[in-house]
């Protein structure tokens, strides 16, 4: 029986080392997904407010059932109150990463964090 450690060939070690480095590098890169820049509030799918995530603000959005209260703090936002029966979007708490979304389905209001590297406002040639 040859010991396991002698099985890989020289190039194998290189490949494993490169792959390990790649995996390690992918952790922070993909996990952050860019910088959270603004909170997008939608009602019935249409954007009603885009809030800058750099300062504190509280807004009320009138939905199908009543008012959803959205609180913005530097770098994060949440649905603080909602008239919906199950309160899923409220219990989701603070959202801080781009792409994160809290949907108050009964009230037809959603709060999404936007920003990051892969978004373009416009591209012209």
């Amino acid at each position: 029986m040859t010991p396991w450690i002698s099985l890989p060939r020289p190039g194998d070690w290189v490949v494993v080392a490169v792959a390990t480095a790649g995996v390690a590098a992918s952790f922070p890169l993909i996990w952050q997904g860019g910088i959270a820049e603004k909170a997008v509030v939608r009602r019935d799918g249409t954007v009603v407010a885009e809030l800058d995530l750099s300062r504190k603000r509280t807004i009320e959005v009138e939905g199908a059932l009543g008012a959803s209260v959205i609180v913005v703090e530097p770098g994060r936002a949440r649905v603080a109150a909602d008239p919906g029966p199950r309160q899923y979007c409220v219990r989701q708490g603070w959202l801080s990463r781009p792409g994160e979304i809290a949907i108050c389905a009964p009230n037809r209001v959603s709060l999404q964090i936007a920003g990051g590297r892969s978004r373009y406002d416009s591209v012209t040639y």
Binding site: L7, P8, R9, G11, V15, A19, S26, S118
Partner: protein, 180 residues
């Protein structure tokens, strides 16, 4: 009884028998794979790749492609997910890792052994699955949030499977040497 003139007689060649036998081994391993509980859906040891790699080394790329294709279709049949999203995920992963192996088999074998092929195939497999998931199943970049975990799993299981293949090849060669 007279033979029907339209009767088609299939005569399986030795190649067909071999491919069927190897595919059966791969299917058995993919059933074992599915039975191993792991915390995250999508993370699997990919034991069937051991068979793919062994076949690639012993019989060449064509046989390996056949074995993989049969394993995916028949495995889907046995696991009950034929033509479901899970089936297409394993199909896209299988195609991508075969493409990767088609290229990687030309690496100089003095320097790059089964571990390299296994790791490369594992990464190609998960990349194919992630791409299909992003394009079709979950059209949102949130899919890629899980990518680091999948990559880590691909690396880990790729190394382990590669070591197993290296050992199996080594043992086959020693027995051959002893018998010679």
């Amino acid at each position: 009884m007279t033979r029907s003139p339209t009767e088609i007689v299939l005569v399986p060649s030795a190649d067909d028998h071999r491919i069927a036998r190897l595919a059966a081994a791969a299917i058995a391993l993919s059933l074992v794979d599915a039975a191993i509980p792991l915390p995250l859906p999508g993370v699997k040891p990919g034991l069937a790749n051991i068979v793919t790699l062994l076949v690639l080394y012993r019989y060449g790329f064509g046989t390996a492609a056949w074995v993989t294709g049969l394993r995916i279709v028949a495995g889907g049949l046995l696991l009950g997910h034929l033509f479901s999203p899970g089936f297409f995920l394993s199909l896209s992963g299988g195609i991508m890792s075969l493409c990767m192996l088609a290229l990687a088999q030309w690496l100089p074998p003095r320097w790059f052994g089964p571990v390299t092929l296994s790791v490369l195939a594992a990464f190609a497999h998960i990349c194919g699955q992630l791409l299909l998931a992003r394009l079709w199943l979950i059209p949102h970049d949130g899919v890629f949030m899980l990518a680091p975990i999948f990559f880590a799993a691909a690396l880990f299981f790729g190394i382990i499977n590669g070591l197993i293949v290296a050992r199996l090849i080594g043992e086959a060669e020693t027995t051959k040497a002893q018998h010679a």
